[in-house]
Symmetry: C2
């Protein structure tokens, strides 16, 4: 790190050092034009001559070059430029290998050359009502650009909370706008819920397999994960849960009874009622992750566990990121008996959500067409899943088992013949195909031969190829041919 | 809580119960029109007749009424409607009285009838480049509405991080874009920093007085606050800090060396260097809150403590909420040796920030005019502060002491004659004037007779009146007249 200090005698040297550091650290990259001399003089409160002297020094050091009638530029070839940050994190967390894996998947996902058949991050803008949302945002800004200049204060947009409460009725939940906290996606909702109902050292029950970031989140809060068997068709085992409750082995529970990630399954209505009863009886907070609830193929929507919550032990968390506007990152939670604490924690954790984005979403929800859009999404995802399953039947080793999702766009595949799914992941990455290895979703062995695939991508030729190619490699690695 | 369950025999009764619950809970408010019968039939997958029967039942119960040619409405007067959530938080935190106070202030701030001379939440859209930001957002949406349909993935907008790194040079910081994490305002940056460098039970050094939400944030993380004497002109006492470091009594430190909130003071350059040296020598993380740094009246900007950070122990946190776009809630942090951990924690805490808002901000920063805008803001705030101080000299009891801010828009007032500032706050609230009592900013007695005032509001007649009236009441309560 370097700093500017006003000592007139060597002012130009200091200025030169300052910019040299910026060049060496990569902040000013090769080929970049330096700011105009007069402007630098202005910002740094020095004379034009001081800047000229500093630039000459940098030129002498081989760091910049003058281009006729154009100004000074950072030289394209530099001696020993340090590209990465000098400081590395000291502490390696238990799940750091997992995180490396997740980051590799994210990085591939961000790269246009990779074909992603893995992450549940819809990148197909065409699937969403983007044109309509853009029109609403633009209209709001035209009518009242000053809203950008106002502070987004907790508890956030009342209009949005009213719309959320009204729509929650469709999933069987009778909520007041005051009981709802708008959050930065479902991820923040889960984080706030855990921070409210647990303390470090506590044990949290999780479905097995479950969403990979839950392990990292628990880890970051000093919480222990207890994995509970989860059936690929009926979800969380309530018998196993009851045993844990009787033995007082968990302090809280996270589950996805609506549509489970990564299995894609849905808990039967009777089980949801029993789950609500269990957590209310044992007074153990259930964090109900309803992220995919509105993408259930079943109509009308099956009620949430929260619908049967007698004494407020269920904290319902969800988001509009998977259904309306992935970029807005607007989620919400209804926290029952913990509502007040959650609202306060949100305020000191990240204050509130943007009014512009919240009002855009509220206007979209109020003006109708959301149900129509949801039907369109569900049809599309159901069709994608069908097609993916038929490709799997054709190209994957005989004995491959795939779950049959009842909504959403992800499913779980178990490969026969001891195929190591991390090895498969790395081989596919070399071919610029990105899947997610099952071991990210559980601390047990269950994921070692499993993959999660996602169907939120347009089913173009290259996606079909990527699935087929994944199957071909799995056949090669297992030595087992497809069924037909 | 109630839920819908498909049992054909009593389907209409269940539907009626469901809507009755929504009415009783306030989700459907008096005077609201019920959704169209055909639409309800559609969403709930029941016949039109079932809905009609349900509506008649609700009418019989006195909950709704039919209006000719218009539909059904919730009746204006309902028997015993329960307005509030039934569940209350069970745990009262130590600072819950404080939180009640903060919430009273926020509520008043949100109310157009109140004159707010207290909170540091700029609500004067005119002060910000809102028209220009609105144009940029609109252009981005016109060019690429599909960006709304893409998932905002960590680490977030590279373009914004590049612009942040380039501008950080002006404050003496040489940072790479990779070392920067974009956050949901400065509040989230502080929260992530604390969660990264502390564990529950740890002690955190704070300036005294300091930003009120820091106490709540520490509380929520199980951390203990140790208040360090802070001079109204030179900021944090480094002698006191050194003593604490020698005695190994703190595990981390939060300070605002640039512009301190609530004092408004700035730490001298030599002290900043000493502070950097101290935390690097003792290897104690310093969370440098630079929220108001770009609003320093001094030009060029004085370098940050981070500028002198040798071994990466300084975590710099700041935000564009006070300078460009309060509503966007986009902040950032440069976490030195903790950068990698912070980036990972952000991903599992709230994933990423909206690309639409990030790119809008990046475009604004890249296209010039930010420095011009900052000069305008600084002039405006300096003028507001001058005017506020002259009003205080005229209307407040003799012996009132006000700090002399070196930037930003807040300052600290100490009242003579044992005026209880919480009592003053409540009396002013009755007159729809909102100040912040000093006791929010410290756990010590220092705040009992102090107020923080804010000058981020337009200095219209009613603001001048509010300051004068606050002074008049302080005179009345202290029995001391103004000096002149």
């Amino acid at each position: 790190m370097s700093a500017i200090e006003p000592q007139p005698s060597t002012r130009y040297q200091q200025l030169a050092d300052h910019y040299a550091a910026a060049i060496h650290s990569g902040t000013l990259q090769p080929g970049k034009r330096l700011p105009a001399i007069r402007r630098v003089a202005d910002t740094q409160s020095v004379s034009v001559n001081t800047v000229i002297n500093a630039w000459q020094l940098l030129e002498d050091r081989g760091l910049i070059e003058a281009r006729p009638q154009s100004g000074y530029y950072v030289r394209a070839v530099l001696p020993g430029v340090e590209k990465k940050s000098r400081h590395r994190a000291q502490v390696a967390s238990v799940s750091s290998a997992k995180l490396d894996l997740i980051e590799a998947v994210f990085a591939a996902q961000n790269h246009p050359d990779y074909t992603n058949i893995s992450l549940a991050c819809p990148q197909d803008g065409e699937l969403y009502p983007t044109a309509r949302l853009a029109r609403i945002t633009t209209t709001l800004l035209r009518r009242n650009p000053l809203m950008i200049g106002k502070y987004a204060l907790p508890p956030g947009s009342e209009r949005l909370r009213e719309e959320i409460a009204r729509r929650a009725l469709n999933a069987g939940m009778s909520l007041t706008p005051q009981a709802i906290t708008v959050t930065h996606g479902c991820m923040e909702a889960l984080q706030l819920a855990l921070r409210t109902v647990t303390k470090p050292g506590d044990c949290v029950g999780l479905e097995s397999p479950t969403y990979f970031f839950l392990f990292t989140l628990l880890d970051s809060l000093g919480l222990k994960a207890i994995e509970i068997p989860t059936d690929p068709q009926h979800g969380l085992s309530l018998d196993a849960l009851e045993l844990l409750l009787r033995e007082k082995r968990i302090n809280a529970l996270i589950a996805m009874p609506g549509i489970q990630n990564p299995l894609g399954c849905s808990m039967p209505l009777e089980s949801k009622k029993r789950l609500a009863k269990l957590v209310n009886t044992w007074q153990i907070p259930l964090i109900e992750d309803g992220l995919y609830d509105e993408l259930q193929f079943h109509a009308p929507l099956s009620p949430t566990v929260k619908s049967f919550d007698e004494a407020g032990w269920v904290i319902y968390c969800t988001s509009y990121t998977k259904t309306v506007a992935p970029d807005f990152r607007i989620g919400w939670m209804a926290a029952g008996r913990f509502s007040e604490q959650i609202a306060r924690l949100k305020a000191v954790s990240s204050m509130a959500e943007s009014a512009l984005l919240s009002e855009t979403l509220a206007e979209f929800l109020a003006s109708g067409g959301y149900d129509h859009h949801l039907r369109h999404l569900r049809r599309r995802y159901a069709a994608n899943l069908d097609e993916a399953r038929s490709l799997i039947a054709r190209h994957f080793p005989a004995g491959t088992r795939a779950t049959l999702p009842q909504g959403g766009f992800v499913f779980w595949l178990e490969l026969p013949g001891n195929v190591d799914s991390i090895a498969l992941f790395h081989r596919l990455l070399q071919e610029k195909i990105c899947v997610t290895p099952g071991s990210l979703y559980t601390l047990s062995d269950r994921g070692a031969h499993a993959l999660r695939l996602s169907c939120c991508y347009p089913f173009e030729a290259r996606y079909r190829y990527a699935i087929a190619r994944t199957g071909a490699l799995a056949c090669e690695m297992s030595g087992i041919a497809p069924e037909n």
